[in-house]
């Protein structure tokens, strides 16, 4: 059963290459739904006791190298898998109207990407984690390289070099840790006892990789350019799922492997992440390119999640799990909204837009709800997520909590500015077609999910809390958290 998690994406990634052009759209959606089915089946099977369900061969695979075939999942991994499996079909459907959707290579790359993501979330072996982490870089790079905006090359090189440097740092840290461990298996790695100083240096390697991918201030400069130059599907994959790998990596790998490093990393990381929350929000206010607005917004939101994770408190962690899901859904929705405008008008430049609310009331409605979800109003999942995360931060440090809390205010500023400038005011185009069914479906699914989770967030927290508890308990940090 679990093997299908690997087999299906590979199968679809390859088989889509020989499907006739007219069938690529449907084939891609069917394939992604099949993966979703497998993930749901795994969730059904999973006994929700919080332990890691291992299904690989824990014995060494290459006896001499220390690499094991250890794969498995717990509640946290399953939630990430589910997010991936839900977002991929949504991304494919939202691309339905683009020519890109009938491109075999594109669809193949999406499945390739999914393979990498699944691998990241179920690897219980450090080296496999690293390998899959790297694998995800290839399809996303190629998608943006082949299908991105004309002047994409410099931005993409920057993106590539940035993330690659980060990954290498992680690899170095991983190897440094392995020197003292029996194998790359996660439990073996955790068993290594380090001095605080070594732990700090090694953890820094992981942190660099994650900080770049999340991105945490000031490692973010690749992000706005890459987002704006990538095709919409690429941006959605990047912000919706890919950066969640890094947040997941912090919970699964960075902190549990190096609890000794919490004393030196906790404050600096939280401070950097909090600066990112405010910085991203402030820069977003005056951006003219809508995609850039939401790129910086994404940086601001994700910075808060990273800060909350570093607090390493149970409530803050469950809040960040809720927010990871929420951000994945809302980011995809917002970028789709930008895409909808760009498809119809050929521009994302805010001063050139306006008045669409009158011409496209359906779009105006769904976009408005998304905007509200993005500023985390009650009845959307972001509200609960932010509530728990900010509570954690305030109780960790009042000042930091208040500074991070300004996202409540600044978020409203840039989101409503972008929304109002594009949708309200005098009409600027002769015509603006209302939502296509494929766009409507995606927006509606996202909103419904966000609202259900907003009213009853226990769906997520009940599922991940046992696993979070175990992760927290196995890590006893020096600060006694």
């Amino acid at each position: 059963m679990e093997v299908l998690l690997f087999i299906l994406p590979v199968f679809f990634a390859l088989s889509v290459l020989i499907v006739p052009k007219s069938g690529v759209r449907a084939y891609g959606i069917i394939g992604s739904l099949a993966v979703l089915g497998v993930v749901i089946a795994c969730m059904m099977q999973y006994s929700n006791d919080g332990t890691v369900h291992l299904f690989g061969n824990k014995e060494e695979w290459l006896r001499s190298t220390g690499i094991t075939m250890s794969f498995g999942y717990d509640g946290i991994s399953l939630l990430m898998l589910l997010l991936t499996a839900v977002l991929v079909p949504l991304i494919l459907v939202s691309n339905f109207k683009n020519e890109l959707a009938e491109n075999r290579l594109f669809t193949s790359m999406v499945f390739f990407m999914q393979l990498g993501l699944i691998g990241v979330f179920i690897s219980m072996d450090g080296l496999w984690f690293y390998v899959f982490w790297e694998i995800t870089l290839i399809p996303i790079f190629l998608i943006s390289w082949w299908f991105g905006a004309p002047e994409r090359k410099a931005a993409l090189m920057k993106f590539f070099i940035y993330t690659f440097v980060g990954s290498l740092a992680m690899l170095a840290a991983l190897i440094g840790l392995k020197v003292n461990a029996a194998s790359f298996q996660i439990e073996d790695l955790k068993a290594v006892i380090l001095t605080s100083k070594t732990a700090c240096w090694l953890a820094l390697g992981f942190f660099l990789a994650f900080a770049i991918k999340i991105p945490i201030f000031p490692f973010h400069t690749w992000q706005p350019d890459t987002y704006t130059k990538s095709p919409m599907a690429g941006t959605m994959l990047l912000s919706g799922i890919m950066l969640k790998m890094a947040l997941y990596g912090m919970i699964r790998w960075m902190i549990p492997l190096f609890p000794e490093a919490m004393s030196c990393l906790q404050y600096p990381v939280i401070i950097l992440a909090t600066i990112g929350v405010v910085y991203g929000a402030i820069i977003a206010i005056k951006q003219k390119d809508m995609k850039r607005v939401f790129a910086f917004a994404s940086m601001s939101h994700v910075g808060l999640i990273a800060a909350a994770i570093m607090v390493w408190d149970f409530d803050a962690l469950s809040g960040s799990m809720v927010q990871i899901v929420n951000h994945g859904l809302v980011a995809v929705g917002l970028f789709l909204a930008v895409e909808i405008i760009e498809r119809r008008t050929g521009t994302r430049n805010l001063p050139d837009l306006g008045g669409f609310a009158k011409q496209a009331p359906k779009f105006a409605f769904w976009f408005a709800v998304l905007a509200f979800a993005s500023v985390s109003v009650p009845l959307t999942s972001g509200f609960i997520g932010e509530f728990l995360m900010l509570k954690g931060l305030v109780q960790f440090d009042m000042i930091i909590g208040i500074i991070a809390g300004t996202t409540l205010i600044l978020g409203a500023v840039y989101t409503f500015r972008a929304y109002q400038l594009s949708m309200y005011g005098p009409v600027t185009r002769d015509q603006f077609a209302d939502l296509h069914w494929s766009e409507l479906i995606v927006l509606a699914i996202i909103i419904i999910a966000v609202v259900i989770l907003g009213v009853y967030p226990a769906i997520i927290t009940d599922f991940v809390n046992p696993s979070l508890k175990i992760v927290l308990e196995t890590v006893s940090t020096p600060s006694g958290l």
Binding site: F141, M157, K158, I282, S318, G425
Partner: protein
Amino acid sequence: MSVSQLLPLILLLPLIGAFINGTIGKSLSKVVVGTIATGVMAISFVLALMAFMSVQHGEPVTVHLFTMIKTSSFSLNARLFADNLSMWMTLIVTGVGTLIHLFSMGYMKHDAGYYKFFTYLNLFIFAMLTLVLGSNYFMLFFGWEGVGICSYLLIGFWYQDFKNTLAARKAFIMNRIGDLGLLIGLFLILGKFGTLEYGEVAKAVMTEGFEISEMLIFGITICLFIGATGKSAQIPLFTWLPDAMAGPTPVSALIHAATMVTAGIFLTVRSNYLFELEGAHLTKDIMLYIGLATSIVAAFIAMRQNDIKKVLAYSTVSQLGMLFVALGMGAYTAAMFHVTTHAFFKALLFLGSGSVIHAMSDEQDIRKMGGLRKKIPITHITFLIGTLAISGIPLLSGFYSKDEIIGHAFESHKFVYFALMFSSALTAIYMFRLYFVTFFGTFRGTHEQEHHLHEAPASMTLPLVILAILSVVGGLLNLPGVFLHSGTHWLSHHYAHNVAGMAVGEHGDPNTTLMLMVAAGAMAVIIAIITYIVYVKKNSIPKEDAQVKGWEKASAMKLYFDEIYDFLFVKPILWLSEKGAHYFEGAFLHRGVVSIGKVIGKSGDLVRKIQTGRTDNYILWMVFGIIGLIVYYIIYSKN
């Protein structure tokens, strides 16, 4: 039906109405849409009345709906709570709400967004009821944010005019500043008490031997108050309320006069046991003086406003300030009494102004009105009653409720007493000015407007009449003990019965009360006469904008609050955003990264010669190469 069955229904009915109108309202006729929206409100009101009756003399009722989330240390519950305070607020919200819905059916008749308007209006009521009926601070916050959203939607209802959407955004953002304060207050409560349930917090506080550091209780109460300054439009967060008048007039009546803006008062009264603790004295003093300053500043600005709705908006801010003065003195019942009468007469005045605007074909400038009393008699009479009530003319509701607050001030803070009298004097002046300029003298509008002048339909005048009656008799709710020996202070007893922390309290000496009443009443009457002489006998009309000078200009320019905020906060943030993006993000960070890249690139010149030029191929190979290297390294390191 028992109360526990009634409460969810009261809450859900408006939501159902919003859902029906929001989904299929577009294809329904306007009458049906309006009837559904008003109907659910009326039913909700009747049910609230039933619940009120059965809770009134009994114990508070809690209804557990579901647990939203359960964490390691606390759980957040969707739970409803009925005691005399929450039911009282529910009655105001649903009662005044029903009337305003009814009014809107006539007022919005020609608007294309009719169904949308009623959807938002119902949705607002749902959020407001969540706010008052919730059994914990979390539900309160839920509703608190919810009413903020509905307020945003309704202020920006006519979004074709971009100015309106800016006003909506301003309101939302300023509210959010307060919300952040409130949120932090909730975290502090959660940290100390481990729960957000009112009942449990109250129990903990009122248990013998309860200890809390003064610093913490000050922190909690000041945070709650910061939240209140946002929602209830106090200095420094009050400037959104006048701008909020960009919304349709029924919205101003419902949200920005009768219900939402009183949320801050409700929050304080609900948490009165926290405010009565030792360390909260400072908060109460801050509250008192902020309220006082707001009351006077807003009344001063209202003196020279010429937009009929702006005058009423500043008047609302001023009255809310007075309410916080009452809270700062610990006069919780007096505050709730005034909230109630204020809901009656201010809703009346706003709806009356709506009726005037409706008659004047959307003209809002009182300088272009005049002589309307013959043309729209019902509106005129009801508006007069509203004016008399708010100005504190004896025997009308505002007279009693205001007097109770002023009486409290007289006993404890003499300075506050005189300041409040000054504020009430200003109130009477600008209200009579508004009334006389609008309804007396000669008509100053265009011919066309004069031709169109007409009294509103029954759906609009009926709410006016009902509210006018309530504005007259509302004072009976909490009559002071001067005239009668029994049946007085009904509201005090009503709250003291089952609202945590509320007591009947001592009442002032009847002779003092009488003296204060005579003074206040006489002042109001004298002001009425003077303004009559100025604006009717001498027939003076407010000056054109260019001619105002001195204090009048300061008042007309709203004491430059917007300009100052613009200079202090808005401009710097925008500057930071623009320059930050350009210099820090663009030049510093970006160039730093690029130059590092260039150094690496230079060193790679040699290698570049064997490159194919297809960078994508190159990168693919690079990744595979790296992976190969890793494997190679691992194998060798083991050996």
